[in-house]
Symmetry: D3
Subunit: 318 residues, 6 copies
């Protein structure tokens, strides 16, 4: 079905050759595909160690190591959906608010043409304008893999738009239904004992890493699936949810995270949900000299892509 | 109670700004606080790859990423105790024996003013003069997290004071009660089949990583707590106990260690013991280009600090 | 028995001193020893990121950190067998086929003098000429620890000899009995849905990482032992079987691998099998700036050495 | 005269011990000293690779290697002036314009107490608010060592405040007298052929690296001294003026720069000018894994300090 | 004239955004442009440390830092010629001889459509098939910047095609006129005292680094220009000609090379020659963790591009 | 003459293969050769950043890149003298004074058998026991290439034996004739204005980098040769004399050093002096992640070896 949108064959074109597009895919417009992989090189929301503006490029670079067919399902996303590298959103490095509007407009466009967006960030603030673009009509469910809740109110003299605040804004703006919102993997000391109060009061389900370790992947994901149910749901994966030994290159690393094995299993268990888009954020290449974080991120993007391809197949090609 | 000894608020002063004191705390004298965080930049006991002399500085640097409140207990050590960065012990890089005496004297001083010391090393030999300073009247219990037993007799032509020998000396000198001494996480090939004989004969309980893996954190820590009981106990955490994927920057790495998740759980299970001090040793920044080891170490220091704050609270402020 | 083949004593000669031979052993000829540790600095079979030609040197370098006696068994391989560093096979960097012949001839020589070879690679293609040297008379069993099956047919315009194809060739050439061949740890997306068909059709047992995680080390290894039985068996350990957080320096990393703790347990459970040789391959130092991969590899080599020493002891010294 | 403001003696306190203040100096207020070394951890003006927010900390760290007495003059700045680490300006990472105002106010305060500021950046935009704080009454002369002119008009949709524009703003605002403004070391391709037109039209003297190489340090500096004359002059040193082999850790490296030997000679030839302050900017630690850039920067700060101490001595202590 | 082939404007699209094509140019076919920038990711000719197969990708990546207009001439190559990223030549990593033929055929095609090729390697062997493609009718002149002569006869059992032998083959095959061939910057110990005999006997002019240092850039380049004269000439720039402090990431580094300032001056002095193509080779990213070598290489490519644009302008657009 | 002591031929044995001995030479005893290359893995004299204990190993490793014949003279040291890797001196990492005695005894032995020692350090303190071994009968001349004078009296509570004091001790002990002692390249701030007084008073000639830059290599070396004259002379080369861009991996880097081109020229101008031995010290691999410092050091060792081979040839083989 989708011959025009195949990744380069590594048995013909060596992996080290050619432009590093996402997954070695062709470059195309969202209107041409079912799933649009999009880079958002933005780190203006970062409170401490910036660098995720360089994330999309390194994720593309490491994604040269990816292959076609998932080894567990035996299915290839490229047989199930048309997928392309749809380029980067061109933000304004000197205007955070304008950049958010640019991103929002971009994802409204993606939504209008009917493509499912798979996003490579960028810091976690980008999930807010993405949700504005995708969920303006009615709130969506949200599954968040992360070390941090990102539901603070403000930072530094009242800044409301930071990578520590996107999901509070998303709830306030009616983009996310807090009753259909689950956070998995949270950990690490917090600035204030009341840090999680807002999320809890709104009904967000927080699963700390300690509970996760007790219950295991299958049980936690069963609950997560139940929370979001059959309605439209967005997935956001902060690379700092994964242990820093496997993803050191990020701005706010927290030791004691979940392993990549656990991460892969969790993403696979999203299969069958009505996912309207997904992102992988917080890969900061200046803190990732070995490239391992970008490799981990690229592989998670592939796992998310496989899930999204299942959504496309289920709904039928456009 | 402890307003004067708060860490800098990262919502006001960005984490990248300001002098990198331990946990972004004020600098003070041990006499002003309940818990004194102290650096011991010493690596004269190292047999192979030196560099832990630079440990305290990088542990301070990475501790800028720490926050106020433990996410599991909801408690902040800074609400329970006065804590400060009490600077470094100034050793003599050309005189091992004199340096040991300097350290001993320093910790006698800390003990006299009634502060609990939390130490950032330095190689593992520093635990010996610290114990001399803290435990000269009666032997204490000891919980050691480590890949190695550090109970050798001598190295190289009879050197008795090395980072492979401190706990043999501590037993011989009556500083540690070997019956109340437990070692957790040991592994790695040894130089001689009789390596562990001394410790075993003295009654030290050695829990190898293999036993640890079989039994799990809860069971092992229950035994460890029973071994040291209610009497005064010192805690020493060698970063090489943790797997080198999570703590590569150390002089004698051994693959197959415990994970940071396990390490954090174990430290939390020290809560309620009568701990008289703790150290985190063997972080060697020249072998830690990514800073991950120092981040892991700084987080373990925070976990130890939370336990010590419980001790302070229990005993009442001075 | 084996006084002439002892590693340097690190309590006398510091680990940083002296030439970095394997395990700090003497240099000798295979004919002088029971177990010959051999380097094969070859990466002509690599499809993407080369560099394993530098593997033997860095494995030697990191093996300076090894010690004499296994801490679980209390046994030293050097008490059970004569072991030496038998140097590198000198391949021709401009002639893949000639290099394979050089390697084959070298291992025929090792076999003839009756030494068991323990090899430090090199990319995975080297297992093929090693098997040609060792198993030309009758097919052997094979236990493979790996992220990849390495049973592809060809790459790039029909190249049959690559690091993705050695075990297909080995089956075709009658060097390995596919019914006595088990692969453990496979994972990662594949180029084609039919990728594993050849191996499956030939009767190779593939244990993916997912099955491994379900069943655990003991159960998997019990099956592996049953598959190879009592007959002669070769062991090949691709470092990329281990998670890239613990072995990042390799050409084709796949996240979600087994841990070093699991790897060590598995190798120990090879004890008692009739092992005729073993290799550790795919350590690529240019992608291993921290040296962790070479450290992991050197430790796995030590574990394999201990198993081989048991074989020697069982069969009696030559 | 200045006993209270001596750096730690490295023959007593090892360089690796103690908090890494600038030059190992005491921490003090500008009002207590003649020369205030100040960090401005700010990179909001950066157009591409951010990271100079971490500059002051690493410059402090590497300045531990500095010593007391200049080897050419035989003079110590600490004998000629009271000097201290006066901490960081606490900027707002989410508000560029507010941060500029914070910096301006800070330097107005420094000026009011009569201290000469020596600043460790931060990106080059910080020179603008520093000049606002120091030169609001009458324009000053400016000597700029740099690879770039930094006199662009705007970037990205009209942003006027970036690290490529500070000196155009400074001229427009009457802070710098363009007739007393010399730029040394410029090079590298430019975005537009008219790039240097504004500076040239205003009368700024641009000395490209090619002219510099032709004429040599002495001749160029004689001209520079003549241009600024005896009136008050500010000095700004962008680390990217130096060749990236000696200062790789910066956001916009340009090959073919001047050497550190040339840089040191040039700074020494500032001696005797009426310098009212100086800065060293654009050290970006995330791109400086070896620390060499911060070492180079710290040494240039020491050279600048020696020149400023001469100014203090000449004018007499306050 | 050439609006369709402009690099992305970094004042609109941040340098960190977008696919990293050479110089941020559009991707096009050689037939569409005057100058074709081409990657040749090939390192099969490497005798020791491989890795230049990854060169084109990292040269593209670092070329994001380049700009439009040369600061010395005030001219932009993009105003003088149509220039594009014409992709990579897809070589066969398992067949050196076939790869040479693929490269030859590719450059014959470039020549046929009349574009001037600017090549990013790859190891130095690629110059041979490029010359076969460009110079098959009559020998060309050659200016080689390099640490090594690359005129050996064979390596390892008679291999004639290695990165140490291309120019001997080129002379033998009549591709290069040895009387119009000059080598600049040679240095480093040699394998055999007769190493340079062949080149000398054929009339190649070798200018060692020592002679270069004595005479300076201008004098040496005047001679080089005289040697090649007005006839068609190829330019090959081995990055190892430059000192390893400025270009460490290469397989055969030699200390004591020329500086980037000297390199830039030399390339600029090629202006006006009848250059038919140029290459920049031997950038090996696995040995270039800081990216400095690729930055240096990308800037030399820009300098070469400016020279080639002058050739295009002189000859008139096609 | 010296067939038995040839380096491995890199056209037969690839540079990446084989044990990394110095210059790929055979291992032998000093009594078998004319020139003994010896490692002294010792850093107990280091005041700040240790790590030179790992120097000999990495110098050996990088010396794999060396070749046979000097390109300027056309002579090979291996044609003029018998040269071998004579292993490491086994020091005691816990006893500085005993280690000095071990080194002294070792070099007395080398002297007795009549070999010229070429030493790879180790920190600069090792020059003292080497001189004790070589010059006990009558003081020798000394040519020192260095950033520092190393003639301090004591450090830290009176330690007399540090890497900052060896040449004061050597003068005091009558090992070096201060009138025949020249130091070249000194620079960097000093701890005390009187730092150089001792050396000056004793008649040592100090040539600071500034004077060196003024006069150039030829003039400076003419003076140095005149100072030491025809009598026996030792040469000591501290890698920190070279600029840290070319030799970053050292404990006490000072910017603004001489270049490798200058260093090579200076060493070549030692030709014809009566040199009794030479050392290359202060390479600290933990601070040299790229290996460039060890490469620079290995090449300087080769240059020194060529000079020593001339001495051997002149005196006639033993």
């Amino acid at each position: 079905m989708t011959n025009a949108f195949e990744p380069l064959d590594s048995g013909t074109v060596p992996r080290f050759a050619g432009l590093p597009t996402f997954m070695r895919l062709p470059v195309a417009e969202p209107s041409q595909v079912d799933i649009a992989i999009i880079g958002v090189p933005f780190d203006l929301g970062t409170t401490n160690r910036a660098g995720t503006r360089h994330g999309p490029r390194e994720l593309r670079n490491q994604s040269s190591l990816m292959r076609r067919v998932h080894h567990v399902t035996g299915l290839s996303p490229y047989d199930r959906a048309r997928v392309a590298d749809c380029g980067d959103v061109i933000i304004d490095p000197f205007d955070l608010m304008r950049s958010l509007d640019i991103i929002t407009a971009h994802y409204e466009g993606v939504r209008e043409v009917g493509a499912l967006p798979l996003t490579a960030g960028g810091d976690h603030l980008i999930s807010l304008p993405i949700l504005r673009g995708l969920a303006k009509d009615s709130p969506v469910g949200l599954i968040q893999f992360d070390a941090h809740s990102d539901t603070y109110d403000t930072f530094f003299n009242g800044s409301k738009y930071t990578h520590g605040t996107p999901f509070r804004r998303a709830i306030e703006e009616g983009l996310v239904d807090p009753k259909r919102f689950v956070q998995i993997g949270l950990r690490g000391a917090i600035s204030d004992a009341g840090n999680y109060d807002y999320a809890r009061e709104m009904g967000v389900r927080i699963i700390f890493i300690e509970e996760f370790m007790e219950r295991g992947v299958a049980d936690v994901m069963a609950e997560a699936r139940a929370i979001v149910g059959d309605a439209p749901t967005y997935v956001t994966f902060d690379i700092d949810g994964i242990d820093p030994s496997q993803a050191p290159g990020t701005g706010t690393p927290e030791i004691g995270g979940f392993s990549t094995r656990e991460a892969q299993q969790m993403v696979r268990l999203l299969d069958g949900l009505d996912i309207i888009g997904a992102d992988l954020v917080e890969v900061a290449p200046p803190f990732d000299p070995s490239g391992l974080t970008a490799l981990t991120g690229a592989t998670i993007l592939f796992e998310l892509l496989c899930v999204l391809a299942g959504v496309v197949e289920k709904k039928g090609a456009r």
